[in-house]
Symmetry: D2
């Protein structure tokens, strides 16, 4: 349930509504909006009797939220959530963004050369893993803090916003310090302590869908973050596990319009992990944008044959440029043109 206050409601009106909600045994969460204040009722799984709030002074209307997730739902907030970044990029709304970069940060030359390539081709957000969650304890686990410092260097040089993964509470502290967007990976989608910590972070969070998470579970995982106060959340569809072995995962393209319908949060698609094959990245990126995604995240490496991880799914810089040309045209059709880098060739 969402109690929407009138524009001229007083703080006394608001306090009264909060008290009534708490007296009913729920939690009240004031949500400042562009036009007016709203107060959310959380802590209820089922329907709430709205009559007690409806008659109170200063209350304009009471909106029912039928889904188990509240703060992430379109019922709760009708307008698209917008996530502005330092370099002018805005995620969500009527723009399409591109996040690109290597799977993992490997060394300064690899990162900076790849960053330059993706910036020139029009990406405005640089991805690169410094902390890598690896299936085997004996696999390469990432550069850690040194990787974050290299990402910061690339940001300064190319005006690219940085997104990188936090894999636990410790790395989240570091990522929050260095990055512009904190990524929570698929394996951690239901690591609730990490979600709560991300909910207290001062940076936007991108939440990847778990390997076999339902859309409802995924939205509820996002709800953990919003419920702690961080409303800057981006969903990321990265493919789910299936019986098909030709591709690494199965991109659930249905998820894109469904999430746009159920939630106000932006959604990004990751065709690199979604397919696991370089030659499929561009077609699936185009499909995601045509389905309504607010952007894509792709792996690009200046030399994929030498990549320490995910080489087979990393694009060569020239493949990335070709893909960007197609995305430009499709995002225009969608009425959500690509956010262009100032570095992009021709600007």
């Amino acid at each position: 349930m969402l109690v929407v206050m009138q524009q001229d409601a007083t703080s006394e009106d608001i306090r009264r509504v909060v008290k009534v909600i708490e007296d009913m045994g729920y939690q009240a969460r004031p949500i400042p909006g562009e036009q007016r204040m709203a107060i959310g009722v959380v802590g209820n799984d089922g329907p709430v009797d709205s009559a007690r709030a409806e008659g109170l002074p200063g209350v304009q209307e009471v909106i029912s939220v039928s889904s188990p997730y509240k703060l992430v739902s379109r019922e709760w907030k009708k307008d698209d959530t917008l996530i502005p970044l330092f370099n002018g990029t805005v995620i969500g709304g009527n723009r399409t963004v591109v996040m690109a970069g290597p799977c993992g940060v490997e060394d300064e030359a690899q990162l900076l050369e790849t960053a330059e390539a993706v910036a020139l081709a029009g990406a405005t957000i640089l991805r690169g893993g410094a902390f890598k969650p690896r299936t085997s304890p004996y696999s390469y686990q990432g550069m850690g803090i040194e990787g974050l410092k290299l990402l910061a260097k690339a940001r300064d040089r190319y005006q690219l916003a940085i997104i990188t993964e936090a894999i636990d509470l410790e790395s989240l502290d570091a990522v929050e310090e260095y990055a512009d967007i904190i990524q929570i990976g698929a394996r951690n989608m239901q690591n609730f302590s990490l979600l709560r910590r991300a909910g207290r972070a001062k940076k936007p969070v991108m939440l990847k869908r778990g390997l076999s998470a339902t859309l409802k579970e995924w939205l509820l995982a996002a709800e953990y973050i919003l419920a702690e106060g961080n409303e800057q959340v981006i969903m990321c569809e990265r493919g789910v596990r299936s019986f098909e072995t030709y591709t690494r995962n199965m991109v659930d393209i249905n998820a894109i319009p469904v999430i746009k319908q159920l939630s106000h949060l932006p959604i990004i698609a990751d065709p690199s992990h979604g397919t696991g094959r370089r030659e499929l990245v561009a077609p699936i990126a185009r499909a995601a944008v045509a389905a309504g995604a607010d952007g894509i995240m792709v792996e690009v490496h200046r030399d994929p044959t030498t990549a320490k991880s995910d080489g087979p799914q990393s694009l060569y810089p020239e493949q990335f440029r070709a893909m960007m040309a197609d995305l430009h045209r499709i995002s225009d059709v969608m009425g959500k043109p690509l956010t262009a880098s100032l570095n992009a060739r021709g600007h």
Copy 2:
């Protein structure tokens, strides 16, 4: 293995190659091509010693086909298969086609009004089930032959090619007589007797992917049809079964570029069955075309609320028209413009 003959190879040369192949214990299948004749070697699962064929008179080159499917593979035939229909529509190649119509043929008014609506909006192929494979023996099983006759009437009136499903040998005889394209449904994807019969049909066949068929199994099912001599086969991705219950199926968008890569056969996407929800049909149709599909098949009903089957996933005519406008623009980006109906508004 594929033995490609020189342009001036004689029929004696060809007979000699066939004999050598048969002496090796395989079957030889002459394939007439646009420029030159080729002879396929089937009946082998593993590698074949090509040396015996390479030196023979009239032989230009011997191509190895590494996949378990032969005739459907790109190795076997590099150029896209084109499937021309009576009304000028060509499936495959550099055009995008739209098949639309009701889930099932219900009565003359329902069919003709829906047919007119989709023709006016630019579809050139009319879908409509006369024989319905139903999960329950107690569900509506379709109009049968009477439905086929109504489809034929719609074809004559609106110059729409007809596609309709055959569910067994008996209905295939009837569908072959009345329709322009014979559809084999997902549940029959591995009904090998039906596939063989379709392989002897004089009409093109559209083969839907099974509910949990791998891409390899699907291509091998198509191989059954081609191996009987019918090379006019269209693949149709219609969503696979998954753990997600919000949508009816999960559209495997990855399948589209993969099939285009592995096979010369055209591929169509069916967002209606793929999603099971009307509001998702247009986004997924756009995505399929952006991923490289050669067309889409969608359910449209003049009044979905009265449909005997699949009402919730059927588009209203005005939704279909809106979707067509988007597909026009995206298919142009792909360099595969929509095949327009002569009936389309404005023509």
Copy 3:
């Protein structure tokens, strides 16, 4: 809905009930029971108003059947269906049966030697494919009628009942003639024409679960057979498709107690196809019996290394004997002792 008649109900009473049901727009199906006659109402998906039948002369009670499947449900028929075979074996009820033999019939020596081995170890039903549904058109397709004749020979020699697969209408005619149980394979679970034909067969039918069929779909497929009048149906869980690649399929052991609960039909487990690995067959066979299965079907070959199909999952005769010893003891715990062959060692 099921209308149960009193023991002394007259045929006039029965005719009257049938007429009332038909007047309500449904089909009436008289079901002769051990104690009394019942009349089933089919053709309804939802609830039926039972009041009109309840008051009629000769009617004892009206039972509601809430599931979409009727004739296969426990609501419809409380007692276990029993399927007696010529050699004294009864499938269903308080006995556990074992079906064993090669994947495919390959030649007389292979079949008879394997048949002797499984009979000596206590199996009473011989399996062996004469018609093989193969994923590739180029794979071995079975011996056909000659295979059926060899199976009949094995039956005569070892008093083993025969089960073998029918893959289409044509092979079903032949299988019905030669075999004691007609098997419908997983790929044909929703081949509704074949199911209907099996429903008119004079022999029991074993229906394998489809690769990704839900339990409800599987029961509805069985309903197709019963609805045509053949009540001698055996369900067979053979593993479903999953993301795990270590095993060929994932045996859904949950399905066994669920089917026993929802339906009166016997259920058999096939650990050979369910696992695809010889070393897992015995553990899974034990598990199936412990979960309440009415029997198991396993592949045994006198020399698996030479098998034309499914060699890796076929047991050596001595492995089969060891497994039988365990099954004897577990089926005793379950109160459903193994049906022993008269040929079994020690008899």
Copy 4:
């Protein structure tokens, strides 16, 4: 690779082998065995040249380990890992254990009464969640430390070993202090920081399989724990996600014999979460034991209708007693009799 030392190898011999391994670029991990010392080579994904170690003084043999997991593999350690608990229960080897108790600890009376019931019926390990990982942030999250204290009280009173879940680093500290076995839940199976911390714990760890984890991923997750030094790890199959909605999950019964074959670690089955339905728990528990499981974990509640979580899958105490009677007999057939509680009725 595993270097097995002779019984009379000196510590100088061992040091020399370690140095050679490290010179080859790998890590050496001495493993004290019952009869003799072994030295493991980790940090390699592929084959290692064993020749350099084979000739060294004190070396008896060099064993190749082909799987990506090392310490958890049967190649590495042939004998079953045994996990002894304070009350005489040993997990692994030739005994079958039963863990039982409520889903969550709710209050003292609920816990102690349930504990008494399961102890009297023969369970020797008490389960009960104090920290609950919940899909929704608004669901009941468990009693926390107070719950652990109640579990400790139950242990003292009924001589039951305690197993309870740790959901993050903070709760793991607490669980390690109070419990006898630390449970890592399915959602945390690839929470690598938590796995590493568990690997440094002084208590055994039970690792549940992730919702869609392959067997290889699951074994590699266990490898994280062993690689940190904790070899007391128990695997727990709790069902995987599938397309079937009748049951909560699909118990992968194949996993039980596969894990026993690939690994020396004990494996437990959880039919409560595996099925989500009370009436299926006993059949699946029997199946798991018949498939070779080393024990089962089941939810029992003195009054399931009042349970705060998982009520529909919790057994009534009398159902639990009936199930125990069956498990007694099946575990005897398996040659792995049930470990009986001293409290069990009749002792």
